[in-house]
């Protein structure tokens, strides 16, 4: 640079590395060539949390529509198929089974892990079958998608939830196959999967609750 040139900023001010050289993981550390940016979290886990975020936004959008629709004078809550209670218990049991698998996998008990994973997959599939039964019962009772606003939301919310849960069942089956057939260590995968599965579990409780009690 030519002598006497004036600049608004001073290149190299505060050391040659510019900002971002000191102050913890966000700003790096002094002379931080060796610094690890953030605590090691497996990319799979971050990915699952991001999916959870996107699904939360999706259901938030449904909820806002639901909330503004249900205050209209023509709103009527429809019949509650009794099988939904059974499905709820099945799904809660599947979460417990997956937790069993996760802990088994974490301490290296492969037999426990794969048994519990298989059980979780079966319970998940049973929940889906139960949901299909509930829809069929409603259709049998003459309640269709367009019959009334509540029915529309019922099919929309339970259907969207079922699609997300089916994705989880697919991932569970894949993890089970990995452990059972490939005898591979699925620890990281089961850990990430547990986040998603517990989430769709809680999501079901939320959907169930807002459809019939709020």
């Amino acid at each position: 640079m030519l002598p006497g040139t004036r600049m608004l900023e001073r290149p190299g001010a505060g050391g040659p590395a510019g900002p971002g050289r000191t102050g913890g993981p966000f700003f790096g550390r002094p002379g931080d060539s060796g610094a690890v940016p953030l605590p090691e979290i497996s990319p799979g886990r971050i990915g699952v949390w991001l999916i959870v975020g996107a699904v939360v936004v999706l259901f938030a959008a449904f909820t806002s529509t639901y909330v503004s629709r249900r205050v209209e004078p023509d709103w009527q809550t429809g019949p509650l198929p009794a099988i939904l209670w059974v499905n709820t218990i099945v799904l809660l049991a599947s979460s417990a089974a997956l937790e069993w698998a996760r802990r088994g996998s974490a301490r290296g008990a492969d037999v426990v892990a794969r048994t519990a994973l298989g059980l979780t997959t079966l319970l998940g599939a049973a929940f889906l079958a139960g949901q299909v039964t509930a829809w069929r019962q409603l259709v049998g009772a003459g309640v269709y998608l367009a019959s009334n606003p509540h029915a529309g939301f019922f099919y929309l919310l339970t259907g969207t939830h079922a699609v997300h849960l089916a994705g989880g069942v697919g991932a569970l089956a894949y993890a089970w196959w990995k452990v059972r057939i490939l005898a591979a260590n699925a620890d990281a995968m089961v850990g990430a999967l547990a986040i998603y599965w517990h989430f769709v579990d809680v999501l079901w409780l939320y959907v169930f609750a807002i459809l019939f009690w709020f």
């Binding site: 510019g18 931080d32 979290i41 998608l145 606003p149």
Partner: protein, 598 residues
């Protein structure tokens, strides 16, 4: 494309299809996104020319065009339905299938791993799926031109009831259904993409590359990915409900008492305003999805071509984040005329005007970065400076439109069309052009022609202003957007000469893009070979070969020792110091004081 020895070794087992078609390499996927988006830009641009033909000379018989689009013309004249279809599809294609996909999908995929020193994305397979979902969504969208009733005609915002009732208008038929399906597929593709970008930037940065050492391009793409992840699911939800309304007879968005063709519909109790809320909750973050990556790339281009550090780096990062957060709080400014409570309108006005602050910070910082810089007026730099100009021009009219009393007057006029074509469309496009001229050597290993690039810039820059600036006056005069012919309205007829001018300017602007297409295609095969770092820039991607091989970095990953903007450091041997150079060889003595307030 030249492949280095290392890469040839690593890739010997990949077939042509694995390497270039169903590739999991972020660079190939980025280039696939880029070329697909450019192809869509040709289609979207052609539709714009059709719009200007009709608005410039309504009622004229067009022989050639009516041969090309036999369904859209009657007796040589453009049909009103077809005009609405063209307007709708121009907006849809340009926003979702050109600018969103080229910035996040194209530049995002190509640049993120290279600029953060990673070998690839966190989830390469998901990345491949993302691109291969884009393709069917485009096929569905373009197929809608050929179904009965033609493509969607309800505007790119698809407001119900027009979009919810298949029999409402020719453009409300099957075309609208396909439009919704196409968008739903695209949303899944974009969500897979943003999942990847966020995870990759969080987890796969090179050693030493702290968040506050990232190039601003990465910051722009990072915040954009978060915006996409949190806003696109809302449009997805809305699209599903609208599809249900159309196909299953539900009434999410269709109110009681709608009469179509003399028949009362059975829908009851829905609320069309709900769609507007949901749509704009996506729609407004979406315009920042288009501008934030461009802002980031422009910052890097300005620093590299001005040979100066970007001014106020931390404020640049902060303002990107602030714009990202505010973008979720302003959607109501699209709905001032919807019968909104004045107090709510005032709240949305306040949040909208607040965006002017981070925007002004950025503009000031770009100007300060240029001040007394030793500027190399490369094509990329010209487009970057052009970006700043367009962003300011369009941003100022944004301040007008943020205020309900003004907006109620200008709502749905050409003033709005002028506003968003400057601030979002053209500015974003200039970011894309700047980025292409700048990173073309890295992408394809060859240089673009600079002389043609500068001619392209000047014709485009003048063309944009000549096309869109007069639209402000058309808006003042009361000309509505999406109007088929102003000759139908007594009070608008005097605006015809100005419309002729705009149309001629638009045709010139369109022709100027042929120069770019020629330059791009010619340079792809015949351009001079690019060296590793043709612009003498500091960021990591310029440390990799041009084009980078599979895996990007050979045996050793780069290690970062400094921020991305060490240009013209006093006492340094060269006027740029790459991020990989250890701190020691550049003694910070000389005129620069240590630990100053700067």
């Amino acid at each position: 494309m030249a492949v280095t020895h290392d890469a040839a070794h690593a890739e010997h087992e990949l077939t042509f299809i694995q390497k270039y078609i169903f590739s999991q390499d972020h660079k190939i996927i980025g280039i696939q996104y880029l070329l697909t988006s450019l192809l869509m830009a040709v289609i979207g641009g052609t539709l714009a020319m059709l719009i200007r033909m009709q608005l410039g000379w309504p009622g004229t018989k067009w022989g050639l065009a009516s041969m090309l689009f036999p369904g859209g013309f009657q007796g040589g004249q453009m049909k009103p339905d077809f005009y609405l279809t063209v307007v709708t599809m121009h907006g849809t294609i340009m926003i979702f299938f050109v600018l969103t996909t080229v910035l996040s999908g194209g530049f995002g995929n190509f640049l993120i791993p290279l600029q953060i020193g990673a070998r690839d994305m966190a989830f390469p397979w998901l990345n491949m799926v993302s691109y291969w979902l884009l393709v069917p969504s485009i096929v569905v969208l373009l197929a809608s031109f050929f179904v009965a009733g033609g493509a969607a005609g309800g505007g790119w915002t698809a407001y119900p009831p027009l979009s919810a009732i298949p029999g409402a208008a020719p453009g409300s038929g099957l075309g609208q259904t396909l439009w919704l399906i196409s968008l739903a597929i695209l949303i899944v593709a974009l969500l897979f993409g943003s999942l990847n970008y966020i995870t990759t930037i969080f987890q796969m940065r090179a050693r030493g590359l702290s968040l506050m050492r990232l190039p601003l391009t990465i910051w722009g793409l990072f915040v954009t990915a978060i915006l996409m992840l949190l806003s696109f699911p809302v449009l997805f939800a809305a699209a599903i409900m609208l599809l249900f309304d159309r196909l299953a007879g539900t009434s999410f968005f269709v109110p009681t008492g709608v009469v179509v063709g003399g028949q009362l519909l059975s829908h009851t109790g829905g609320n069309p305003l709900l769609w507007q809320h949901l749509f704009w909750f996506l729609g407004h973050p979406e315009v920042y999805v288009l501008i934030l990556p461009a802002m980031g790339m422009v910052s890097d281009i300005i620093a590299a071509n001005g040979r100066k550090p970007i001014f106020g780096y931390q404020f640049m990062v902060g303002s990107i984040c602030a714009i990202g957060i505010l973008s979720f709080l302003v959607w109501g400014h699209h709905m001032y005329t919807s019968g909104m409570h004045p107090l709510v309108g005032t709240a949305f006005m306040a949040t909208t005007l607040a965006i002017a602050i981070p925007s002004a910070v950025k503009t000031f910082n770009w100007l300060a970065s240029l001040w007394r810089a030793r500027i190399y007026f490369t094509s990329a730099m010209l487009f970057a400076i052009g970006f700043v100009s367009l962003f300011v021009t369009g941003g100022l009219t944004g301040i007008f439109l943020a205020q309900p009393p003004v907006d109620i007057h200008f709502q749905d006029t050409f003033f709005v069309v002028a506003h968003f074509h400057f601030v979002m469309a053209s500015a974003s496009l200039f970011g894309v052009f700047g980025g292409l001229y700048f990173w073309f050597p890295k992408m394809f290993g060859r240089m673009m022609n600079e002389r043609l690039g500068r001619i392209h810039f000047w014709l485009t820059f003048v063309g944009i202003y000549a096309t869109f600036f007069p639209m402000h006056f058309l808006g003042f005069g009361g000309m509505m957007r999406r109007v088929y012919s102003i000759q139908l309205y007594q009070h608008l007829r005097d605006l015809q000469p100005l419309n002729v001018f705009v149309s001629l300017a638009a045709f010139g602007l369109g022709l100027a893009q042929l120069i770019f297409m020629y330059n791009f295609l010619y340079s792809l095969f015949r351009g001079p070979k690019a060296e590793r770092n043709p612009w003498r820039a500091t960021t990591l991607e310029w440390q990799a070969p041009s084009p980078p091989p599979h895996g990007n970095w050979g045996h050793h990953l780069p290690e970062v020792h400094r921020w991305a903007y060490d240009y013209s450091v006093p006492g340094a041997a060269e006027d740029y110091t790459p991020q990989t150079v250890p701190a020691a060889p550049v003694p910070a003595h000389g005129s620069a004081p240590h630990g100053g307030s700067g």
